[in-house]
Symmetry: D3
Subunit: 287 residues, 6 copies
Amino acid sequence: MNLSANEKAEILIEALPYIKEFYGRLVVIKYGGAAMADCHLKKKVMQDIVLMKYVGMNPVVVHGGGPKINQMLERLNIETSFINGLRVTDRETMEIVEMVLGGTVNKEIVTGIHEAGGKAIGISGKDAGLIRAVPVEPGGRMGFTGEVEVINPEIIYTVIKRGYIPVIAPIGIDADYQSYNINADSVAAAIAIAMEADKLVLLTDVPGLLRDPEDSSSLISVLRCSDIPGYVEQGIISGGMVPKVRCCQQAVQEGVKRTHIIDGRDPHSILLEIFTDEGVGTMVVDE
Amino acid sequence: MNLSANEKAEILIEALPYIKEFYGRLVVIKYGGAAMADCHLKKKVMQDIVLMKYVGMNPVVVHGGGPKINQMLERLNIETSFINGLRVTDRETMEIVEMVLGGTVNKEIVTGIHEAGGKAIGISGKDAGLIRAVPVEPGGRMGFTGEVEVINPEIIYTVIKRGYIPVIAPIGIDADYQSYNINADSVAAAIAIAMEADKLVLLTDVPGLLRDPEDSSSLISVLRCSDIPGYVEQGIISGGMVPKVRCCQQAVQEGVKRTHIIDGRDPHSILLEIFTDEGVGTMVVDE
Amino acid sequence: MNLSANEKAEILIEALPYIKEFYGRLVVIKYGGAAMADCHLKKKVMQDIVLMKYVGMNPVVVHGGGPKINQMLERLNIETSFINGLRVTDRETMEIVEMVLGGTVNKEIVTGIHEAGGKAIGISGKDAGLIRAVPVEPGGRMGFTGEVEVINPEIIYTVIKRGYIPVIAPIGIDADYQSYNINADSVAAAIAIAMEADKLVLLTDVPGLLRDPEDSSSLISVLRCSDIPGYVEQGIISGGMVPKVRCCQQAVQEGVKRTHIIDGRDPHSILLEIFTDEGVGTMVVDE
Amino acid sequence: MNLSANEKAEILIEALPYIKEFYGRLVVIKYGGAAMADCHLKKKVMQDIVLMKYVGMNPVVVHGGGPKINQMLERLNIETSFINGLRVTDRETMEIVEMVLGGTVNKEIVTGIHEAGGKAIGISGKDAGLIRAVPVEPGGRMGFTGEVEVINPEIIYTVIKRGYIPVIAPIGIDADYQSYNINADSVAAAIAIAMEADKLVLLTDVPGLLRDPEDSSSLISVLRCSDIPGYVEQGIISGGMVPKVRCCQQAVQEGVKRTHIIDGRDPHSILLEIFTDEGVGTMVVDE
Amino acid sequence: MNLSANEKAEILIEALPYIKEFYGRLVVIKYGGAAMADCHLKKKVMQDIVLMKYVGMNPVVVHGGGPKINQMLERLNIETSFINGLRVTDRETMEIVEMVLGGTVNKEIVTGIHEAGGKAIGISGKDAGLIRAVPVEPGGRMGFTGEVEVINPEIIYTVIKRGYIPVIAPIGIDADYQSYNINADSVAAAIAIAMEADKLVLLTDVPGLLRDPEDSSSLISVLRCSDIPGYVEQGIISGGMVPKVRCCQQAVQEGVKRTHIIDGRDPHSILLEIFTDEGVGTMVVDE
Amino acid sequence: MNLSANEKAEILIEALPYIKEFYGRLVVIKYGGAAMADCHLKKKVMQDIVLMKYVGMNPVVVHGGGPKINQMLERLNIETSFINGLRVTDRETMEIVEMVLGGTVNKEIVTGIHEAGGKAIGISGKDAGLIRAVPVEPGGRMGFTGEVEVINPEIIYTVIKRGYIPVIAPIGIDADYQSYNINADSVAAAIAIAMEADKLVLLTDVPGLLRDPEDSSSLISVLRCSDIPGYVEQGIISGGMVPKVRCCQQAVQEGVKRTHIIDGRDPHSILLEIFTDEGVGTMVVDE
């Protein structure tokens, strides 16, 4: 790609209508999967997020961290199990989850944003009363696996307004100050809803929703909420895609303007979603 | 230039360090010459300026308008003459100058910025007491050809802060409320000095200062103030380039950080000056 | 009028209740006609407006400029015609209208306000997206004679708040960035409505609405909207008075508190309207 | 004085340059003497002060109240005596002084300002720590007759900014929370100094400083500080005029721009001082 | 009470939940009776109020002053009479009431707050148009005994926001600028209603509402509005308690969250009401 | 300790002068040792800090976490060693340090503050560029054991102003985005210096500096900086006390008003230090 300076300038100018359109908009990004594991991809995502901030958008990052948690559990010889894609979280596991998400992953992302030229602040859902949680299965097998009860986004507004990019670890806390491990997609959706975000973007390791998972050209670009039940029945939406689609559905139905499931394995997929007319991945719309 | 979306994203990301560096910076641009006469070039300049605003810079535009003034004078059969490159401005001519600059050219640029997606407001130096002028030759042949006595930039700060790009017609007014026609380069320099601008950019119809005017490869990229007298003596700086260089010299010596004489005939030359390490044209530095 | 200082002080004090009543009020003034053509009258109007600003009111000036436009058209040998009191505006005429209104008339008023001791800023309806226009007769004979589609008064609030008196040229722009020539009375009314002004004052060259145009003692001081149809039928409201009355009617029916048609040929008629109980001219009320 | 509305408008306009000049200025007025005792004069002073506020000045009123105090002392059969024009203030007298100044006189002035159309708030020097006092003669005969130690004008700025006219009773308080009776002229001067007032005006019952007290045409319009010692020696400045002149002298020497001793028996003398070129009374200047 | 420092710290910590609960709350306190007459009690009340301010509450003090008024009336040989607990106020009496309340009592409380370490400002209902009054019996025997027509709390918000404790003398003023003497309990209630206070506290010289006035153990801790008519009929609510209960009733029914009648003879009864779960005195609730 | 409500109220009032004195003050607290390990003590410290916030102080908490780090290192079979009281930190150890401090300890303290009724936000020195670090021994044995190069306290001011208590993990980052483990005492001192704190409090597990470590009655209440060299020589200041004393010394010499080494094993020692005249522990003063 050997472009002249003039050609590069033209490309910057091509971005202008998108920059204008998204100026001042709030975009909640669930960051995880390959885009987090791969050093090179991570750098690209961080650049995308910092660019968004500089051109006037307000990105909010919510991250997962499963692989790092698994590594640490393994080093400590703690067994872990999953039910319906959610980690069974006993007290010992919860401690490790919190330690890894809040102490390691969260700060790595903050530093990545600084490396890309931005300013960030890492926040756990325990900070400033951000995420109030309840157990997904009170008294049941899932232990301290929780779900969002209520979001108090005050701290996010405060830090955004001062020019920081908030980076949020999906840890919640209940009325008795017990910590909960919460799925990052659903935290991202809950924050997007609470803040009436303009966009919710879930980074995944697939190209979006595919009619035929083997055929990446079978991408469903626009998914209507009304089609979801049928697609679930037909098995087109299945496995880990079910909760992701549900998050998007809930978000658009509760006021988030746009929701997207995109492929984090593509470099700059976030920018592409925002700066191209076609977009990338699957957009879930409330129809 | 058939680039993939990914390649375009990479180019946006390449701009990030420059965007970061210039965030919040004040850039005064003298806009005129071919870049104003040519419809296509004009559109590019407008896009550049709007992009600058969206990525966090504060552009201020000062414009000339000689050709349009000449046309109108001709239509009205008013003769006009120049001494040392400055128009001799009698009362009748002054009326036409003011009418054309403030009523036609200024508003065309404002509209061009709106077309490119920005918000602008046109200001004459008579508005809000912006430009106080004195005659260049009191009682002499030059009539109402003036020079800047003092700039009151209050209105510029006000409109910048509210998100507008100020577009300034180089008309001044003296203590007796008489209008003066002032050279746009020197108005741009005076405003840059008064506002302690980070950059002053003069758009011209040459590539910059050339050692050999016939040879565009003889560009002097960096011109030290200390070399100016010698270059003038040698005739390297001559004709219309003399006052332009003097404007830049005065600006850097009175606190403007960077000053540039660039080629307005190159599309996106403003962006190139800002977004490439090499820059374009001639930078005048206080050494 | 040889008054002692004490007598003058008494007169200032007499103004106190009016000053108190109008403190902080927004008054939109259509300025034109004899009050603009006559140098002496012009000075008085400027003083009135500046006084209003100093005693706490917020005047907004909208100006016409027909005679100056006609002069310039004549000098350029461009013929012009009127249909129902509106100028037929072809492209060439539009250029002249814009040039004269925005470049000459507007700046003369700004300077007049400065001479009277105030601070003003001249704005065309093209600046800051102030006046969005549509043609009065799309595709028809009237050409670029337009009417207000929507007012975006943001820039007016900004400059008022900073202590400036806004002076507005009645030029509008459509979605394709085409300029339109709009009747100044209707621009004044539209701005008064958009800003929920406390008062709209139209300066004219008659004493107000007269039952008998030959008899200035037949002034109708208060005109009820409900009486307008009858008066039009009887020919009491006729000619150029029809659109003026319509502007006032629309304004009071869309939220402007008071509307007045006053005689700009009387020195200080604006002050008299505000500072005397009887007022002057014709007040149109929504009854 | 049967003036037409137009003539009255002209007089308002005559005031414009003065209004402009004094816009935003702080004027401390010592109010007392005949202007307070006479109902008609009082009304005029209140109007003057309210007009000043409406046309953009910031008047601050400091009042005396000797006659009302004397009346109450008499009704209560408390004897009172004066040394060098200052009241000897024992504990019982102090209670009455404070009660009359703070409870009666102060509130009458506040109400007078409301009647004239303004908004006022009465403050004693004890409120908000405004006036810290010390005895004029510690342990001596003068008892609780005090002088200003320090002014804390914070509360005055607060109420001025919110549109109120502060009305101040000259009561001070020492470090042990003991009240002191302070001369109102010196409180006015101390407040003017502490707030760097633009003007200090002392209302008196004489036309100003007269060379010959019997001859009101012998007014000294401008009194230079350097002439004061000589005039004192010659007896031109004598009696109650000595401390008034000293207050003015101290004020101009500590940063107050203009100080005036004017005749409160003239209706509107405050306005005249401000709105005429000649001024009234004696101006003390730092020369 | 010989406590170790550690024990004292524990007691501070015990207050924490109450401090948290009342943070930012507005509490209107009617201060009068024994708590005002007794020097020692007065000091405790002042400390309570200052502590409230420092721990984040916004206390507003309304005071009576009957005994001091009586003393002064007696010294001046002015007879006074009461009808239904309200003072018959002729013009002469009104002058004394205003003088004593505004000049003496009000400033004593301001000074008491300063002695206790706070910042206060004394305000009469005449200042800043705070209390508009009407006569309780227009044209009748009660003379200038008034009741609240409307409260304009603007000045209170201003001074609270700047860190001052407002201290209010219950003087009102009618549309003709006539002063009125108003019962302090009802002024306190009216201010609490106008400001939507969180709490209204009436300091009295009884333990609260007693079933048997002879038996202080018969305190009715919670009084439901629905029980008031019955209690009045039974004579349990009688005499001076009737208007106090009525004030509380009106306040809770018009939006004040909590209202209390407490015993001002107990040192620190205000703090006890706020900082203990049981509270003290009688709480009137809207049930 | 069976106190009546009245006695408790008296104790609250006793605190008033201290509350007043410390209103708005910034207090940096190094929290660690027994006060962190012991559940009961921890609760008391949290209460103290929350009380400080509610009564108007601005506490900033910096925490250590050695024991928890040691536990985790042991569970992971990572050996650790100390040189001169500082942990030798290799890359693997650094990861664990960061994870435990930022993910576990920091969030426990945040939650403790919430349990005590306050609002907190946990920040690592990596967040928002708070702590720039350099290695204590570049290229040496100490590895990623760092010291503060510069503090950027912007984020702390932001969160304090919004009512949060900042809780800071002593992790720094260098220009290459490498993390460093920094001694918490020195981070607390550096932050106190950068923010010009009014007080720096180091919680320790000793009563303060003792002349005879065996005799707790030999406490040195006030330690002059000038005496430090002699005490070090005599061995009175030795072992872990040396760096603590050095931190205090540096802090007072660089503008922190008061510094204290106090006994975290005493419940409420922080409150005692602030709310008693004698204070507790050792105060280091710049003499």
